[in-house]
Symmetry: C2
Subunit: 464 residues, 2 copies
């Protein structure tokens, strides 16, 4: 039942929009169901018809609802929950409404203010002044200079062994995973995934016909019995910073996993999406560095340490897959902008990237500590906050009489975007979870406290 929150900074039409969007996404309203007429809702909610129209228009323009000729609006279709940023790498659809998020706990995007755009621009200028260089950089596998730079970077920062000729550059992790589904397809049509785990990854494989075998993971330990019992010879893991639980896979577990791969003649996809951002202790070297028998496919993303507008990822293939790549090369096209690849190469080689990562680490460590402190102060016993050791997300579980959907809606009504953990489970846990991921990367430090207070207001318990 729609209830507008008068004291909220969020405009009414946005509150209406958010309410129905969630109703539809949470599948409480399904395709074909009719929405109240504009007049009805306006009267009932005590707002002008224009306000309702504005909300409906937005819902329609985003495809949530449609209108049969002159008749009333009805639900157009059901979107999966939380696809928005469901992989913890933010992807913003509600452009028209982004301004409506007062506090975006849901986006891992780096704070643009921390990025030296002028330096990037200088490099770009240089690159776009050298047509001959650009031409020489035209390489299907990725700009050679960038592959060299990444080869060194990945070794120094992550202990990854990658010769430039084993690196494949791609326009984002999704496109590289798409390539992988092709490279691996022939041999393996069954993939084990962490449960909970990176949603986009398993969906991509499921989508082209793979069986998905969820393997429960607890404190970084995979259920090896379940893995061994399964037919899977391929597994998708995020050992350095498990998504979404945020734990690190212990060395013993890593060795067992590598051993499993060798015994199974299997492969391991290592998703190393944010491990540059480690705040305590020394960074955990990548699994790939321990691999002696070419079983690990290393996926490196710089998405957490570069601004959203750079859409370049890379992967390191073991020799046997390089062969497959060469064999099927004709199927692939390099999608990453050549000038942007060149600029990134220069950005890395000039040491700018490392400097920036050091800056970010410092900022984020402080912010993360603040976030923990504020959350603990605000929620006390009601919330369990897991210590932030890396990345930009804080994993919290909440005690509340409200259901997850209701908690989400209340947060959104307060202008807070948060990610629920539930959708990352392939096999839902028995008890309904009230776990959320809260990112602090996009919220300025001085706003952090009021952001947490808004969340507190949204999630406060009321007498009912």
């Amino acid at each position: 039942m729609l209830q507008l929150i008068k004291e909220s900074k969020t405009p009414y039409y946005v509150q209406i929009y958010e309410y129905y969007r969630l109703e539809i996404e949470q599948q409480r309203m399904i395709a074909g169901m009719r929405l109240p007429s504009v007049r009805e809702l306006a009267q009932q909610a005590g707002v002008s018809k224009m306000t309702v129209e504005k909300a409906y228009y937005q819902l329609a323009s985003e495809g949530y609802i449609t209108r049969r000729c002159k008749a009333r609006y009805e639900v157009a279709f059901v979107r999966p929950q939380q696809e928005n940023g469901a992989d913890g790498r933010s992807s913003s659809f509600h452009v028209a409404l982004r301004q409506s998020w007062l506090y975006d706990f849901g986006s891992g995007d780096m704070d643009m203010e921390r990025f030296p755009l002028d330096i990037w621009r200088k490099h770009m200028n240089k690159v776009l002044s050298e047509p001959a260089y650009l031409t020489a950089c035209n390489d299907e596998q990725g700009v050679p200079d960038l592959r060299s730079a990444l080869s060194q970077y990945a070794y120094e920062v992550r202990g990854v062994h990658a010769r430039p000729e084993h690196i494949i550059i791609g326009a984002g992790t999704a496109s590289l995973l798409g390539m992988l589904t092709t490279l691996l397809r022939s041999s393996r049509l069954c993939i084990a995934v962490e449960n909970p785990g990176f949603r986009l990854g398993r969906e991509l494989f499921r989508n082209i016909g793979y069986d998905i075998v969820p393997i429960s993971i607890h404190k970084g330990m995979l259920d090896m019995d379940a893995l061994t019992a399964s037919d899977a010879r391929l597994i998708y893991v995020s050992p350095s910073h498990q998504f979404p639980t945020g734990t690190v896979m212990p060395i013993g577990m890593r060795q067992r996993l590598l051993q499993w791969a060798e015994e199974r003649d299997g492969m391991i996809i290592e998703d190393d999406y944010d491990s540059e951002l480690r705040y305590y202790g020394k960074p955990v070297p990548a699994l790939q560095g321990l691999d002696t028998s070419g079983r690990v496919i290393y996926m490196g993303a710089l998405s957490k340490v570069l601004p959203f507008f750079v859409r370049i990822s890379y992967m390191v293939l073991p020799p046997r897959l390089m062969m497959a790549y060469h064999r099927q090369r004709g199927l692939f096209r390099q999608g990453a902008s050549v000038p942007e690849q060149c600029v990134l190469a220069a950005y890395i080689q000039s040491g700018e990237l490392s400097r920036q990562i050091r800056r970010l680490r410092k900022d984020y460590q402080e912010k993360g500590a603040l976030m923990e402190q504020f959350l603990t102060e605000a929620f006390g016993q009601q919330m369990e906050v897991s210590r932030i050791e890396s990345g930009v997300y804080c994993h919290v579980s909440l005690r509340s009489s409200y259901g997850e959907a209701e908690l989400l809606r209340r947060a959104e009504a307060q202008g807070c975007r948060v990610l629920a953990v539930q959708p990352f489970y392939e096999v839902p846990a028995q008890e309904e979870r009230k776990e959320f991921l809260l990112s602090f990367s996009k919220i300025p430090s001085q706003k952090l406290k009021q952001a947490v207070m808004a969340l507190r207001l949204a999630w406060r318990e009321e007498e009912r």
Copy 2:
């Protein structure tokens, strides 16, 4: 049998490299076969051991051959023929050797000298000076301004009806096709393709489990009986400039095809890859413009009229597929660089693109005419040259006592890269064809004549 051509401008080591590369690609040498030892080959070919080593090293570094411990080199694996540019959109792998192509008839890349890089750079500068604008442009479906610009452009230039919200931007055609395989997958696992036709397209669909139904096409007419007899409800066509035959689909045929789609409740993928480049008569409007029942998926590429380094393509989805797109949105990530999308938008809106296309059309029309003239003069009765009406490729069929593979090797030995038509056939024609595609876009006009003479030299008949 390797024969070095002394009078060729191509260095010996390159000739050796090209010989074995072709032997392997044409599968005359297969995985495991051993190459002559360096000494043997050096003696036999009358060159220094260093020359042979250089060639072998290059082959090894590209993965064609490997060396078991200290033993002799052997063939590592077989790559499909002609994957290099097999889709007529050049993709250059042999970075180390690109300089060795004296005359590249195989690349559709536009002549960089025809591109106002400075204007592009100016726009890029502006975009990279406006972080707020960049942030506002962050949209999964593609930068809104670019979608608006393309919506208007596609309508004016191609008669395509596309509202910006129905346009999906992608990092290259391949990634958009990948998205399509996902959007269409559920309903249809069988696709009809033109025979001969665009190779990458059908391979992408085959690869994720589609049955491929080749439909022969002659003078732009599809074998409708075969199509109707098949189970296909999806077809991939290039009506405005059939690839590789270069013909245009007559209006009657277009209407029959649309009718077929409606009767079958089917879909048509229209690949409109180069139709901006039409030299005679008025450009043929896109099939999509004739479609009244939302059956056509329009694939627009600017790859022939923009420099190779811009990797942006777009497609226009009919309403029913937009629904599927929204539903599965979480599976897709925008891979195209945001700044590059913004720059392209400005480039189109400022009218620069149209100006450039007019320039290119003029250049290419002249070049195309010259090419025809030179080829006819050089080969006379020996070669049938199909008139160039659009695009950058000239379709020729050759009378020769040599086989296709031999003709390819001889061309390459003369430093000429050409594309054979054969690989574009899904079902090979009975008689061995000696048809080739010759592009003139990358060869400067003043070099065109000597380029053709080099080809003449390569393909001359000898007493044997």
